[in-house]
């Protein structure tokens, strides 16, 4: 592919830039989810640990959730922002703008993979072996990257046109955090909330991820199909919206 080299450079740039001027460098990638997990673990393990199905551990359950949610929320905002923040380039040199959104999603994917090292350590400490289905996390990661890039592309148009989209997206992401079984098991909620959780696409990604990584979830065939549908739909939606509105939006950069 013609733009493979450029995408590789962009992903590398995004990864190095984010933590370039900090002392612990790439450690920030790990510190943020690890600290969040530590706090949530301290607060909620008393309430929810006993409510997990037998054989599942709360600590890896939680860290996996934080890791996947961080990937989605950071990837989404960054990929939606990437086109606006690279407007200086896009109004001078022709490159398909979609490349920037895709690279941001891929950078999120790389961070996600790096985050699996602390997750593996947490699994080890809590005495949970990694599952033989581990390679399937690649599939989940890619599917989530597609979802992120798709929504990111659609949102990037909104980000350029309306300044307050950012705030709205942040609020929606916060709601999404609580409607995804990250620090609680879905079974601990009442049936209305469970319904929301069930149809929340992120739940499917997360369930599959936990199961594939350390056999810490119970995804069904529905989750696999639901995940695939959302990834494909998001990508179609993103490319469609972007193609349609970009010609008018580029003049606003």
């Amino acid at each position: 592919m013609k733009y493979a080299q450029l995408i590789r450079l962009l992903v590398g740039r995004e990864l190095t830039l984010r933590y370039k001027r900090s002392v612990i460098g790439i450690g920030w990638t790990l510190l943020n989810p690890v600290l969040t997990s530590a706090v949530l673990w301290y607060v909620f393990s008393f309430i929810f640990a006993s409510r997990l199905p037998s054989g599942q551990q709360f600590a890896p359950y939680l860290v996996a959730g934080i890791l996947l949610y961080t990937f989605f929320s950071q990837g989404l905002t960054q990929s939606a922002d990437s086109i606006a923040s690279n407007g200086g380039v896009l109004t001078k040199i022709y490159v398909p703008p979609q490349i920037f959104a895709i690279s941001s999603a891929l950078a999120g994917l790389v961070n996600f993979f790096i985050g699996m090292f602390p997750l593996a350590i947490v699994c080890f400490i809590s005495g949970q072996p990694l599952a033989w289905t581990l390679p399937l996390v690649l599939v989940v990661g890619l599917a989530l990257a597609l979802l992120t890039a798709g929504f990111g592309l659609a949102l990037s148009i909104m980000f350029i046109r309306f300044d307050d989209t950012r705030n709205i997206v942040n609020i929606l992401l916060m709601i999404l955090f609580y409607l995804t079984p990250i620090f609680y098991p879905a079974s601990a909620m009442n049936s209305t909330v469970q319904n929301f959780i069930y149809w929340n696409p992120l739940t499917s990604y997360l369930d599959i991820f936990r199961w594939a990584f350390s056999n810490n979830g119970t995804p069904t065939l529905f989750n696999w199909i639901y995940m695939s549908i959302w990834s494909i739909l998001a990508l179609l939606l993103g490319t469609y919206v972007f193609k349609k509105y970009w010609p008018r939006t580029v003049a606003m950069l």
Binding site: Q5, L6, L9, R13, Y94, D163, D164, A251
Partner: protein
């Protein structure tokens, strides 16, 4: 054979009268019936061709549509009407150093900038020392760009942008950069590129450059072509205006 073919190109910007920068404001204005969209015509029925080896200069006052035209030629701004055909590799010399990042090193920036212009990363990697040398920043290539002086940044950008001969050269006022010595050097290289067989579109306010470099001139006024032809004649008419 025409390398660039612009046919009846129209570009219209849509401008919201009460600029609604947020959804909140748009919503409020829509309810009060105040959101009005006004079309601003930037280019109107513009047609011309540029052959291989030709240098076409674009003249016109500020706001005549020159920058818009360059954006259309660069492929960044799709025209609302009309067709555009550009063959071959484009080197857009419009505000050099687009995509430069202060936190990345000199050589990383050279690489990224070149990749944006569609050059082969592997070849650029080999060329980077030579590019740094020519720009006079060899010793600094491994330091972040924020440690460069603005003159060094401009020289590095120029050296990178002009390192490869392209088929189509779009030049916006960058005939030379830097201090006196470097200006001489960069002007020479610019002339070399312009006369190197590419199809060149040159936007400039420097009438001397138009007379000496251009083979044809296009005079834009309020978005349409007012006059097109021999550079000396067009410049005379433009200056008389």
């Amino acid at each position: 054979m025409a390398v660039i073919e612009v046919k009846n190109v129209n570009v219209t910007y849509r401008v919201l009268m009460n600029k609604s920068g947020s959804m909140k404001e748009l919503f409020r204005d829509a309810i009060r019936g105040k959101a009005r969209v006004v079309d601003y015509v930037a280019l109107q029925d513009v047609s011309f061709t540029v052959d291989k080896g030709e240098v076409v200069a674009i003249l016109g006052r500020n706001g005549a549509g020159k920058s818009t035209l360059l954006k259309v030629l660069a492929g960044v701004l799709p025209p609302n009407k009309g067709t555009l055909k550009v063959d071959g590799k484009i080197a857009p010399m419009i505000e050099l150093g687009a995509g430069f990042h202060p936190e990345m090193t000199g050589s990383e920036n050279v690489l990224f900038y070149s990749a944006l212009m569609g050059r082969d990363v592997k070849r650029v990697k080999e060329r980077t020392p030579a590019i740094g040398e020519w720009a006079g920043v060899s010793g600094h290539l491994n330091f972040p760009l924020r440690t460069f002086s603005s003159g060094m940044v401009a020289r590095l950008a120029f050296a990178t942008a002009t390192d490869e001969q392209a088929d189509v050269l779009l030049v916006d006022e960058v005939l030379s950069v830097g201090d006196t010595d470097f200006q001489e050097k960069s002007r020479a290289r610019m002339h070399e590129l312009i006369n190197g067989g590419a199809a060149v579109v040159l936007v400039t306010h420097d009438m001397n450059a138009v007379r000496t470099l251009a083979t044809r001139a296009v005079w834009l006024e309020d978005g349409h072509v007012k006059m097109i032809g021999n550079p000396a004649e067009v410049v005379a008419a433009y200056e008389a205006n």
